[in-house]
């Protein structure tokens, strides 16, 4: 189970794809460049680097084990030849530098090729070391460790558009960090009640606006989203905007409260919209309209009548993520039975696809799937009762520019491309 993928993220150019897993490892894939010798390999992602980001730790004060599972990875924009990413577990965020080494210096004066120091008396001439090519080596080194700032479990990290700061959010607090400073963070949101007995909601996700470095949003377990402006006050306990859709009384059920909990929030690339994922649907919000979303897409409405069973098997607590495509014209999210769903916002069409070995021969097209909610099951349809709830797609990512998607199905990563590429 240590191989279960827990997060997937493309970098800003889309050339690198990082995955984190339950065992605390990060695996980075790199896209192959166009290659005349192997024309089909263009666009393939191959393993570029693997490293152990987090180890299990023990909090002696609380007698608690701290899981090494990577909750989130976020890339920093590239500023030089090296790549930087932030990875976090429940308590500690780390900044990793991934750099390539493809040259080695040879011809040192003071030491031999094998590193042994040369006898000074034998050095009779002076030479300039020469850089010789070597097999590409990709090294990952931890550059910063941001620890001890979260009492509760970290659920989100988000790099600011200023490229200098980032936020980390746990169940009750959001902290602002400077990438260079590890011993201090500023608490900007704190929803912990004075009396914990009055706790009614927790923070479930948070993100910085893609362009406005003073704006952030955070979602709650009650299905609401708050937009905060850091210019208005140091502590953003008072929101600037409050997004909530009034509950539909006809759909009220025993589990209504918990399925309205938002599991992910993502700004569109344009910064004009944001998308939220709750248990059964994906909603697109216009930042200028707080009263209700502008679009609601049903992911697996057929599960609404099965909520009790989903509570019993704990699936009702699954936290699905969602993502935008590069042009914000489509959104994608996962479901059960290794199904994932894509919604085209302009054509209003949606499709269900499956990430599995059987249905994904290399270079074959994915066949759209359909779940039969009730009544007569047509050929090729799958009935709700035969869905495998252990095969869940919680993490998906979309290339920032091209139609390439990465889908994590438990411990397998699937990468799909548009044929037009």
């Amino acid at each position: 189970t240590a191989d279960i993928i827990s997060t997937v993220e493309f970098n800003y150019s889309g050339d690198l794809l990082a995955t984190g897993d339950k065992g605390g490892r990060v695996v980075i894939f790199q896209r192959e460049q166009e290659n005349k010798i192997r024309p089909h390999s263009r666009g393939e992602y191959n393993v570029y680097s693997t490293f152990q980001s987090h180890e299990p730790e023990f909090d002696y004060l609380k007698s608690l084990e701290i899981e090494e599972k990577i909750n989130k990875i976020r890339w920093l924009p590239q500023q030089n030849a090296a790549h930087f990413l932030l990875s976090t577990n429940d308590k500690t965020i780390k900044l990793w530098k991934i750099s390539e080494r493809d040259k080695r210096a040879e011809g040192y004066n003071l030491k031999d090729e094998d590193g042994r120091l040369r006898d000074p008396f034998r050095i009779t001439a002076l030479r300039v070391p020469i850089l010789k090519p070597m097999d590409l080596m990709v090294e990952a080194s931890p550059r910063r460790i941001f620890a001890n700032a979260h009492t509760y479990h970290i659920n989100s990290i988000s790099v600011n558009s200023d490229h200098e700061t980032y936020l980390s959010a746990d169940d009750l607090r959001i902290n602002l960090w400077h990438l260079e400073i590890t011993d201090r963070s500023f608490n900007i949101v704190d929803i912990k009640p004075a009396n914990m007995e009055e706790l009614t909601e927790v923070i479930t996700a948070a993100e910085f606006h893609p362009h406005q470095c003073n704006v952030l949003v955070y979602s709650s377990s009650k299905g609401t989203i708050r937009l905060c402006d850091m210019r208005s006050s140091a502590l953003c306990d008072r929101h600037s905007k409050f997004f909530e859709e009034p509950e539909d009384p006809s759909s009220r059920s025993f589990f209504s409260e918990i399925i309205s909990s938002i599991s992910d929030v993502k700004f569109s690339h344009s910064g004009r919209y944001m998308m939220t994922r709750d248990y059964l649907s994906v909603k697109v919000w216009d930042l200028n309209m707080e009263s209700r979303p502008v679009e609601t897409h049903q992911v697996h409405e057929y599960l609404r009548s099965k909520l009790c069973s989903l509570y019993e098997n704990d699936c009702i607590f699954d936290k699905f993520e969602c993502c935008w495509n590069g042009s914000d014209s489509a959104v994608m999210t996962g479901s059960y039975n290794n199904f994932f769903r894509m919604f085209d916002r302009s054509t209003r069409r949606d499709v269900t696809l499956e990430a599995s070995r059987e249905s994904s021969k290399p270079r074959a097209s994915l066949k759209p799937r359909k779940v039969c909610a009730g009544g007569k099951r047509k050929k090729d349809e799958i009935s709700v009762d035969s869905l495998d709830f252990n095969k869940k797609i919680l993490h998906t990512a979309w290339h920032p520019v091209d139609n390439v998607i990465a889908v994590a199905a438990t411990n397998n990563l699937y990468i799909f491309q548009d044929k037009a590429n």
């Binding site: 608690l64 084990e65 009492t151 169940d171 914990m196 706790l199 927790v202 025993f254």
Partner: protein, 223 residues
């Protein structure tokens, strides 16, 4: 009746889930605990309203319900919350915000909830028994059981007799564990009503399932 049974089943299931969530690696998850307590609360409301409907209008609500609303909403969030003093004691000031802390110091709920040993010893016997905050503070199992034995020895109350099978359902062991663990809670919690909950005294008038319900509710609260 079906509704009642279903609601009770969901409550039992929720308690079981809460109990098990403590054993998870990484400790008690606040969001999950909150969600479980929300379902517990809905199930309980459903159960109680179904019971009211099922009863004849002349018979008043069993007095067992009166302490519960006081206990339950007050303590409910504790099922989801870190350990916090339930009684009138002034909580020690919360550790300073992150930015003011010395490097390496961690804000811990443990600091709030664990004053000097002898005071905490007294408090341990309240709803903050090891059940709920084992995920947050070091376990004091041995000491708690000592206390329970001391205090509850001669008093194994009739009200806490093993519940009938219908209420035990699928988790007879859990029911016994809950009885044993939280008999101390019911006996000596400083924040509990000064007199034992009337339901437990009014044995003839109260259905056995109710006392189990109360134990379960208190167990959840203690988490």
């Amino acid at each position: 009746m079906e509704v009642q049974k279903e609601a009770q089943r969901i409550m039992t299931l929720s308690v079981w889930k809460m109990y098990h969530s403590r054993m998870q690696r990484g400790g008690l998850r606040l969001h999950r605990s909150l969600q479980l307590s929300l379902v517990m609360r809905s199930a309980r409301e459903l159960y109680l309203s179904a019971k009211v409907e099922a009863q004849e209008p002349e018979v008043p609500l069993p007095p067992s319900e009166s302490p519960d609303p006081r206990l339950h909403p007050r303590r409910e969030a504790e099922t989801a919350a870190e350990a916090a003093p339930p009684d009138g004691e002034q909580p020690s000031p919360e550790p300073m915000d992150t930015q003011e802390e010395a490097p390496g110091a961690e804000e811990t709920p443990g600091r709030v909830a664990r004053p000097p040993a002898k005071v905490s010893r007294k408090r341990r016997s309240s709803s903050l028994s090891d059940g709920g905050d084992a995920g947050l503070v070091p376990s004091k199992k041995a000491r708690l059981e000592e206390e329970e034995e001391k205090e509850a020895s001669s008093e194994v109350p009739d009200r806490l007799q093993p519940p009938p099978t219908q209420a035990e359902g699928a988790f007879p062991n859990l029911a016994r564990v809950l009885q044993r663990r939280f008999s101390g809670l019911l006996n000596c919690s400083p924040a509990a009503p000064p007199t034992p909950p009337p339901a437990c005294e009014a044995v003839p008038a109260c259905r056995p399932a109710d006392s189990m319900l109360n134990v379960l509710v208190r167990a959840v609260v203690a988490f």
